[in-house]
Amino acid sequence: MTRRMKITLGAIAAVALSTAAIASEVSPETVEFTDDGVAVSLTGVAGDPVAGAEAFKNRRLGNCLACHANADMAGELFHGNVGPELDGVADRWEEPMLRAIVVNSKHVFTDETVMPGFYSLDAGKDVAKDFVGKTILTAQQVEDVVAYLGTLKE
């Protein structure tokens, strides 16, 4: 086997692996909403609540604190109140509904809801070039945030 062939085969294997990873991910267009919310994990990989907490407060990721107060993050300055407080949110909603609200709360509440859909391509007009066709969070980041929200019990 020549060196070139090895590289090519290796590259094909890598592509095949990453395609497999993407194939197991639910795309934003095919997320299935039921009365209970979104029952199926978007990735099949369990969410990491620590990574979820980071995505929750990071202004470039979820920036959830911009609108939601969260006593679990009392060390962070400036919690917004455009949306409801999230203390004990896991007592109020089951995981599928939490996932549905993060993915696209307009499917859960109303079209008038201010909250953006974090895993939705149903965006506003004139999306900036850098964001066209992209979701605010990746599928795994949504799972991570949902896992973190699941820890917010009173």
Partner: protein, 282 residues
């Protein structure tokens, strides 16, 4: 020390829970160098709010205090620069603004409160910035000023400042202003960008709420050009573009039809509030 104390209170409140929850504009009144400023007034007919609030009522007390005294107001430097420009000859005709308009305190009093107006020549609304450009190109033999350059903001601030305290009062019966108002209303309620937010999402639906550290106002424009403590003198179309960028949308061009329509509509939304230029905001 006052600042430290306030910071301490904020910290204490934050650690105690979710921080201070402000829901309403403050109960305070504004006088600038003895001129009473209307910061609350009844909304005009057909307005979504019953009462209009100047953005001044949503700012911290230290920021509010900077507006009260023109010596403390950092935006007044721009007004002084604008005054110098007013008296500067520009263009091939050897004219300054003052050549025709003389004392701005007399000739420009009330003018800023009535823009945007209908411009029969372009068959569009015209704002103070574009009116300055019209004078420059048609009367003075000068080039039009590019957006936010060449003293455009300063001259605009100087002209609007001559109407300090006078209520915003547009005439929508001129020309086709009403249809531009309608178009501006569409722009106001249209969600843009990846974050899928309209002007109304923050400044109507969530007015009075906190978005992180920012107390959401009604988005009134009676104080523009405004002095923002984080970015200095800021023109209205610069602010429009900044807000729209923050929704992760492409920014419309300054003075584009969409933004001229939006200026027409949001200026109307502040009918009856005093001109506050240059207001001080965060």
């Amino acid at each position: 020390m006052k600042r430290l104390l306030i910071a301490g209170v904020v910290l204490a409140a934050t650690f105690a829970g979710a921080g201070p929850v402000l829901a309403d504009p403050v109960d305070d009144t504004l006088e600038i160098d003895g001129t009473p400023i209307i910061t609350r007034t009844a909304a005009p007919e057909g307005h979504p709010f019953d009462e209009l609030y100047s953005g001044w009522l949503f700012r911290e007390s230290e920021t509010r205090d900077l507006s009260r005294d023109s010596f403390e107001n950092p935006g007044m430097i721009a007004v002084e620069d604008g005054e110098a420009l007013w008296n500067t000859v520009m263009g091939t005709e050897g004219k300054s603004c003052a050549t025709c308009h003389e004392d701005a305190a007399v000739s420009m009093k009330g003018v800023g409160a009535k823009f945007p107006k209908w411009d029969a020549d372009s068959q569009k609304p015209i704002n103070v910035e574009l009116q300055i450009n019209k004078c420059l190109t048609e009367q003075m033999g000068a080039e039009a000023l590019p957006f936010n350059k060449g003293g455009q903001q300063e001259l605009t601030a100087y002209i609007k400042h001559q109407s300090l305290g006078l209520p915003v009062e547009m005439d929508l019966s001129q020309g086709d202003m009403q249809s531009w108002w309608e178009k501006g209303k569409d722009v106001y309620y249209t969600r843009t960008g990846q974050l899928n937010l309209a002007c109304a999402s923050c400044h109507e639906t969530a007015m009075g709420k906190m978005i992180r550290a920012d107390h959401l106002s009604q988005g009134q424009v009676n104080g523009f050009p405004t002095y923002r403590l984080k970015s200095g003198l800021t023109s209205l179309h610069q602010r429009f573009r900044g807000c729209i960028r923050d929704t992760r949308a492409e920014q419309p061009k300054a003075f584009s039809d969409d933004l001229m329509a939006l200026e027409t509509y949001v200026t109307w939304r502040g009918t009856g509030l005093s001109v506050e230029t240059p207001s001080v905001r965060q």
